[in-house]
Symmetry: C2
Subunit: 412 residues, 2 copies
């Protein structure tokens, strides 16, 4: 029998305890032995919790207990979680984490420390909630050179965009609805502004390309500027708008960004709606493969945590796997120098004059016409992003155009 401890009895932590109890026999069969939660660390009191007798607020009860060989970290954030994770390694305990913020910020250091102490650091649950994605990337596709990853990695923003698309709600109303349903936190900034998706694509890219990708330098844009007008123009060209976290590996360089993107409805990610997440991976042997499921939630995330626990207990992982080195300087290309198409939406004082001006400045563009909308919207030809944005910015000051309402990447 293996004793484990859970750090943080929140949504995910309590889910881990619940599933380990509920599916005890199944899990023992897969792991080769019984797995038991011996201690749970939390500073709060849970007088009515099913595992209340296991809860302690004293970390020593876990770190000094030599019968506990594995620690599940579901605290989140980079403060206590960081210190506890390091402590666990130094006490010779494996750590399984659902903490994308910590992995994205301190992955190289923590993986190195784990290796030094001959223990494992695993974090399948940090990306895509319950969707198996880290193991498929690092194991199942290990014969491939990974060319690119395109993901819908944040459930909150995907829910909001789905409400806007399906119900015609404004961003604000959809956000309110997401809050009421518990899909958005009181402070939704990390979701809405793309930071959460950014951490996840940084982790996936690090695994896929075997080079640490620093989340803090990834160009990241959220969905708060997306309006119903954008949705309607996208709809008119049989497309939809998703918050895309994407990266690709070309000639030894990594392109990585998080931003709303317009994709055709026939794109495999276009039908991924509500709080679902999906990751589309392209490898040189397998071609396209997609992984789809619930990207968050108590039990799906707990399912991913426990899969890591089982693998460690079963001794399927060794400490040599997954060691990243933080590069001395950024290994990301400047996206301004890469080719892209952009969707642009303008309000104009004079439509015809504005179009003439646009044609003069932008060259070839594809206009999108909407009967009930007097704005001008178009999609540029493929060109360097920096150049396109400079040209679009130059239109801003012209007398024919009132305002640049929005600019969105168009992968069509």
């Amino acid at each position: 029998m293996i004793n484990i401890a859970i750090l943080g009895y929140g949504v995910v932590g309590s889910g881990v305890a619940e599933i380990i109890e509920k599916n005890k026999n199944n899990i023992a069969a897969r792991a080769g032995q019984n797995i038991q939660v011996k201690r749970i660390l939390d500073i709060k009191n849970f007088p009515d919790a099913p595992h209340k007798e296991l809860i302690t607020d004293n970390p020593d009860h876990i770190f000094k207990d030599k019968t506990i060989s594995l620690v599940v970290e579901t605290i989140g954030g980079t403060r206590a979680a960081y210190e506890f994770t390091k402590n666990a390694f130094m006490c010779g305990k494996h750590v399984v984490s659902s903490n994308k913020e910590l992995v994205a910020a301190h992955g190289p250091e923590l993986l190195k420390l784990a290796k030094k102490n001959r223990v494992n650091y695993m974090f399948e649950a940090s990306v895509g909630g319950g969707i198996p994605i880290i193991r498929p990337l690092s194991r199942c596709l290990s014969a491939n050179r990974i060319n690119s990853i395109t993901g819908i990695l944040n459930g909150t923003t995907n829910y909001i965009l789905t409400r806007m698309k399906v119900n015609g709600e404004s961003f604000e109303d959809a956000l309110k609805d997401a809050r009421q349903k518990g899909y958005a936190e009181a402070d939704p900034t990390a979701d809405i502004e793309g930071h959460d998706a950014c951490r996840k694509i940084a982790i996936l890219s690090s695994i896929a390309y075997n080079e640490f990708v620093d989340a803090s330098v990834i160009k990241t844009e959220g969905i708060s500027k997306i309006t119903m007008n954008d949705m309607e123009f996208a709809e008119a060209i049989n497309s939809t708008i998703k918050l895309l976290a994407l990266s690709r590996y070309e000639n030894g360089k990594i392109y990585c960004r998080v931003a709303p993107g317009i994709i055709k409805k026939t794109h495999p990610l276009a039908g991924v709606d509500d709080v679902f997440n999906a990751v589309l991976v392209n490898g040189d042997a397998i071609g396209d493969a997609m992984f789809y499921g619930q990207g968050a939630g108590k039990l799906p995330t707990a399912s991913a945590v426990i899969a890591d626990v089982i693998d460690i207990v079963h001794d399927r992982y060794s400490v040599v796997d997954n060691v990243w080195v933080r590069p001395e300087k950024s290994n990301l290309v400047d996206i301004a120098n890469e080719s892209i198409r952009l969707f642009a939406r303008f309000s104009a004082r004079n439509r015809e004059a504005a179009k003439q001006k646009i044609n003069k400045v932008m060259g070839k563009v594809e206009y999108i016409e909407l009967k009930a909308n007097n704005e001008i919207a178009f999609i540029t030809d493929l060109d360097l992003e920096g150049k396109l944005r400079a040209l679009l910015a130059s239109l801003r000051g012209s007398s024919e155009i009132n305002k640049v309402e929005n600019i969105i990447a168009a992968y069509i």
Copy 2:
């Protein structure tokens, strides 16, 4: 360095050799050491093949070579492949296979023999081509009790159904096109009649429910009776027809079948078109998760084979995994006693009289009306399949009805 041998230099076997050479460095990094193809067994001559100097027609060159510790079996079928696999185990060599026919027919015996000889038998490539599905099921979802699996597991039939849906082609024309493109074999029976999908769902179900499911007793129906009329009626209720291989686990019993099914266009599998495969898994913790990709083809399948090779070389698998016992009697429920809805299509001598007769016999049904089609089509209420089929059969002899044109499961 690890020496391996490939049995069968066909599409998949040559793909394995190609990828091992092309992605040598990547693979060595993931496996922890270099992997080299030392010998390839084939009875044919390949004077122009890139690996011609490795090819031998003498099995002893492989089985008696103690420096070869792993054998890739890409012969297919259950004759030579069966003998060679047993030989390999008895010579202490691991076997990685893409051979669904062999695994479905002799899985329990071969897994037992492998365990006895303390070697591994792995077959990720036997289901879903390159799509990682066996490893996700057995590892990543190991914290879950798997409730059900629904798969589009055969690329040939999915291509044909897609052509019928998109281009309005007849089954015969679509099959002809599939042949021309190399998606259908000269004798397409195993694909068209569902046998291939049947073997794959048997393997997936055995893994998911940890009980060997015997492919030979799974009720299996192919797509050769699907016509454009069926497609049009499905379209009229915003649905589509797919060849579905499905199983579910309820109260200790397994329900398993392969048959065409009508699903809503909003179903996650509805958008899986052309030669793509996908597997939708429902687990008690994760909820729905879907795995999507190329279900066949040289390089995708080779990618899955090599992932298994890397795992064995890296020592991630142990011989205790994946041992099935062949049950003494079938562990499958009789599908006649399970609830379902059925789509039925009739030609009638007299429409109104026929409808009255149908209402009298079938009770509540939902008629589907098509302007340009004079047939009668409806979907039954949910009821036991045996009972529904008996009622539908009783209509066959009635004077008002000309012919039962088709009956299809309706998961809507």
